[in-house]
């Protein structure tokens, strides 16, 4: 492999690599992107910081990991589906990160077909190894399951008595209620609320609620909007007329009224419903954007060429036009995440939605009810930071996509 030393540097640039270069030049947006990454990291790794179960636990039955067990199998600690989702990400994250680094090293630097193929082979081997590791991990989790899911490990560890455990720094579940109100201190970094729950831990887990609402709700409406918008824009005529009428009808409703009406009518609104409803109400904007892009693109030469080749409409739409129309959608999605976070926190601030979830809006409204300024400030700032980093990133992407603003 002597050739690696003189490997030619790649000289071409794809569209998205140009956009990425442009994006990196805007300092504020770049920082915002890192903060978004940090927020996701907090959401995923919250149980590493705060959970009432030990990573490792040793007693007369042997060594076990109640923490790992709780992540996926203990519905007493994590009862909502969001938590399970993020826990799964937590367990899979070494795998995902490792594969990403691996793929990046292999493929980004590959220049010849043979190298790509070799990389793919290695990648498959790599996947296999990881698959085995994860399988072993799961088996270990199941086999080493602790004696009881409901055991109070904290009390046992406190009592000592021949057992020991390695706990996360904060030995608190977000649903734990304590007796009596405590101020901020070493045990409860930001104190506890009037229901006796640790505010800091709830704030930490609230990241999960906000981010998942933002991402999933926006994912839903971007999907609906993109499909409807591309159909309308590509086929035109009657399809277009119908879709545009529907969009017009949806535009006439004040969206927050509509969301509130839907949520208010549900008997027990879970977080999934909130996502679905925001998704169902918000699709008009991306649909209009995609439709506009399709109208612009559908008579351009490369599309005519694809049509002349006899490709099916689905292939032309999804493989040829859509990738070129995704820029505005990406911008819209990033701003959409910010507004979805805002909508969710407004809803929970007003008292709609699942009351057991540690949502920031609910923490804010608790603070308001009890007159606890610190609690209000901290929850409000969390919302503010999340909303503004997504807005900043959205602005960055918008400017990076705009060829007139290229630096």
């Amino acid at each position: 492999m002597a050739a690696t030393a003189t490997k030619p540097k790649r000289t071409y640039a794809t569209y998205w690599s140009i956009v990425w270069e442009q994006f990196r030049k805007q300092l504020s947006s770049y920082v915002a992107l890192w903060i978004i990454g940090l927020l996701f990291a907090i959401a995923i790794y919250a149980p590493v910081v705060a959970l009432g179960l030990p990573f490792l636990w040793s007693d007369e039955t042997g060594l076990s990991s109640p923490w790992l067990h709780a992540l996926l199998l203990n519905r007493n600690v994590f009862e909502s589906s969001i938590d399970l989702f993020f826990n799964l990400l937590l367990v899979l994250s070494p795998f995902v990160l490792g594969s990403w680094c691996f793929a990046r090293r292999r493929w980004v630097e590959a220049v010849s077909v043979a190298e790509v193929q070799a990389g793919a082979r290695a990648f498959r081997r790599f996947l296999g190894t990881w698959f085995l590791i994860i399988l072993a991990l799961f088996v270990a989790v199941v086999l080493s399951s602790p004696r009881s899911a409901l055991l109070d490990y904290r009390a046992l560890a406190f009592a000592g008595d021949g057992v020991w455990g390695v706990f996360p720094p904060l030995r608190i579940n977000y649903g734990d209620t304590l007796h009596g109100v405590e101020g901020p201190g070493i045990h409860h970094l930001l104190g506890v609320d009037n229901a006796g729950r640790d505010i800091f831990v709830r704030l930490l887990y609230g990241t999960r609620v906000s981010l998942s609402i933002g991402v999933i709700a926006v994912g839903i409406y971007i999907t609906i909007g993109t499909v409807l918008g591309s159909l309308a824009g590509y086929f035109g005529g009657r399809v277009d007329l119908v879709v545009v009428r529907i969009i017009e009808i949806f535009l006439c409703f004040p969206s927050f009224f509509l969301i509130l009406t839907f949520i208010g009518f549900l008997d027990r609104p879970s977080i999934l419903w909130v996502m679905v409803i925001i998704g169902l109400v918000g699709w008009t904007q991306p649909a209009r954007l995609v439709r506009g892009e399709f109208l612009r693109l559908r008579n351009i030469d490369f599309v005519s060429a694809a049509r002349a080749c006899g490709l099916r409409p689905t292939r032309i739409i999804f493989r040829h036009i859509l990738p070129n129309a995704l820029g505005p959608v990406l911008v819209n999605a990033t701003f959409g995440v910010a507004s979805a976070v805002l909508v969710e926190s407004s809803l929970s601030f007003l008292g709609f939605g699942d009351p057991t979830l540690p949502s920031w809006g609910r923490i804010l409204s608790y603070g308001r009810d009890t007159g606890d300024l610190g609690m209000m400030l901290i929850a409000g700032m969390a919302i503010f930071v999340t909303v503004s980093v997504f807005n900043l990133a959205g602005e960055g992407i918008r400017d990076a996509l705009d060829p007139k603003l290229r630096k």
């Binding site: 009808i249 004040p254 007003l350 807005n391």
Partner: protein
């Protein structure tokens, strides 16, 4: 231009129809019953008192909740459907007939044998009673004996009851079907029998309900055993009595007619006479019922009254093809909703017990004060800021303004409002502004000036919170609008003419640059009326937003429909207005 406006107005019609349809669908097909909180209904209605039941029925009738949602296929109902529902209710009845015994605490097979032996004695007495030529004394003796012997209802260990949800649905169905099933009820009340297989210890669940006319020969033979479908059957006296009893009870509710004139209107003499007649008839019907343990004479008397009444008024229940079609399409919630809309009647609020339009009329003033003030302030501040940022583009001032606006844009208004309420009012911090409300003085007891000051003082915080969000958006529009024109040729010409910079900017550039932000005014129309849900919630201002929240919590669905409809129509008009104003202000744009 006129043509364009006309075309747009015409296009608004189908859009509006679709909007009304969508609003209807949202409110009616949403899970959970509309007006649940208001009526005494709910799952526990099985053991409700008769009074609560009746008020629940009236409530449903008033809000058309007893009608099917989209299409009314009740003409397809037949007597078997009604019998099914009645049997479900009867099987769930806890009150027992005299002589009815329930064999509890015995095993299944034991209870079968025991009760078969027991009931043979019962059927023997029945046969003796039915035999021709029984004198009066024997009859009385036999009846007493029958009462002593009793009929054992075969209930092993745990009585078999239909599931509560099914019972509830059956009761609701019978109630909702209303007048449609009156002829069937008459038939059931007079000729229903419940048959169980004639054999050792047949159970209730194995039986079936029939009308006498379906039996071979049209009646029960003297021996009491009926041959049907190649099997022999016996009458189950308890179920038969209970179903007949329920049918009569149902009749006295379902056969009632509604008064011809709604409350609050003055009836004409003819109508008044008709109303009186209906009330009399309804009162009479209320008397044609009997208790479950009534004697045969009482039952026969009530039944005769019903049959007589039905023969007199049979015409009411006859259907022609046209009336069936009309019923299918028009006797539905959907049709009633459209009919009311066409008369500009949005219905009555369940919570306030007043017409929805009146309720909205009470609340929209507060929203409009708030919105007008904040909108005015937002325009007043944002235009100069936008101009400043555009003129000083890419300078320190522009960046500063940009960051400031960005922060404003990202700050959640409920956060700011909560903070302001906590720090600047009596609640926790400085006692500068009132905590909440629209006014705290009685306008009749202070001077107008004091009253206005009081309102203004209350409005400071809410208006501030509403203004800064609008400000962030508007200033960005203003800046980009001005930036678009500031590089155009005519501006350079103006500068070349030697005009001062102020004149160039304010007289030449701003006039064109502010077109986009002015046309935005049209789209603020719905916000003006709709108000802001969160701000009104936090500062307890009784505007439209707060009305909306409370109606949702209360499931006051007429108000929700009203608000959704009004705000969507206003949005439609607002979009049209902003398009038209665009064309009016900017001569380059024409829609022809």
């Amino acid at each position: 231009m006129t043509q364009y406006i006309l075309k747009r107005l015409l296009l608004m019609v189908p859009t509006f129809l679709m909007i009304t349809l969508l609003v209807f669908v949202i409110v009616n097909l949403a899970p959970g019953e509309p007006g649940q909180a208001a009526s005494a209904g709910g799952s526990e209605s099985a053991d409700q008192s008769a009074n609560a039941r009746e008020s629940h029925r009236l409530f449903k009738e008033q809000y058309n909740l007893d009608k099917p949602v989209l299409l009314n296929f009740r003409f397809l109902l037949d007597v078997a459907d009604v019998m099914d529902e009645l049997e479900v209710v009867a099987a769930n009845m806890t009150s027992a007939l005299p002589g009815e015994r329930v064999a509890l605490g015995v095993g299944l097979s034991a209870s079968r044998v025991l009760s078969a032996i027991h009931n043979r004695a019962y059927y023997d007495i029945e046969r003796q009673l039915a035999a021709p030529g029984v004198d009066e004394e024997t009859q009385r003796r036999l009846e007493r004996e029958r009462l002593n012997v009793g009929f054992v209802q075969l209930e092993p260990l745990r009585p078999q009851r239909p599931p509560q949800g099914r019972v509830f649905r059956a009761e609701e169905n019978l109630e909702n079907w209303g007048q449609t099933i009156v002829p069937f009820l008459i038939e059931i009340a007079s000729s229903y029998v419940y048959l169980i297989p004639d054999g050792l210890g047949a159970r209730r669940e194995e039986g079936r309900g029939l009308l006498l006319r379906d039996l071979p020969g049209g009646s029960i033979p003297d021996a009491g055993v009926v041959q049907l479908d190649g099997a022999s059957w016996r009458v189950h006296p308890i179920m038969t009595e209970k179903v007949r009893f329920l049918a009569v009870q149902r009749l006295s509710v379902n056969a009632r007619r509604r008064l011809v004139v709604r409350d609050g209107e003055r009836p004409t003499p003819d109508q008044a006479a008709l109303n009186r007649e209906i009330v009399q008839e309804n009162n009479r019907m209320a008397r044609w019922v009997y208790p479950l343990d009534a004697g045969p004479e009482v039952k026969a008397e009530a039944l005769a009254a019903w049959v007589g009444w039905f023969q007199e008024n049979q015409g009411r229940y006859e259907r022609s093809g046209a009336s069936t079609v009309r019923e299918v399409f028009l006797d539905t919630r959907f049709a009633k909703y459209w009919g009311n809309l066409a008369r500009l009647d949005l219905g009555t609020s369940i919570r306030y017990r007043r017409p929805v339009l009146d309720v909205i009329g009470d609340h929209w003033r507060y929203s409009i004060y708030l919105s007008l003030m904040s909108l005015f302030l937002a325009y007043l501040i944002s235009v100069p800021i936008g101009i400043l940022a555009a003129v000083k583009q890419n300078t320190f001032a522009d960046r500063g303004i940009g960051i400031f606006l960005f922060v404003l844009y990202s700050l959640p208004s409920f956060f700011v409002a909560t903070l302001a309420q906590s720090y600047l009012t009596r609640a926790n911090g400085l006692d500068i502004f009132p905590v909440s409300g629209f006014q705290s003085v009685d306008p009749l007891q202070v001077t107008t000036w004091d009253w206005m000051l009081n309102i203004l003082w209350h409005m400071v915080l809410p208006v501030f919170c509403l203004t800064y969000t609008a400000l962030a958006v508007l200033s960005r529009y203003a800046r980009s609008g001005l930036l678009d024109v500031i590089r155009s040729d005519y501006i350079r010409t103006a500068r070349a003419k030697g005009l001062s910079e102020w004149v160039v900017i304010l007289k030449h550039a701003v006039r064109n640059g502010m077109i986009p932000i002015l046309t935005l005014l049209g789209t603020t129309l719905p916000v003006l009326i709709g108000g802001s849900i969160i701000i009104e919630f936090i500062f307890v201002i009784d505007g439209m937003g707060r009305l909306m929240i409370q109606s949702i919590l209360f499931r006051d669905y007429n108000v929700i429909m009203g608000i959704l409809l009004i705000s969507s129509i206003l949005t439609l008009i607002g979009i049209l207005l902003s398009d038209i104003s665009y064309a009016l202000v900017d001569p380059r744009i024409s829609f022809d």
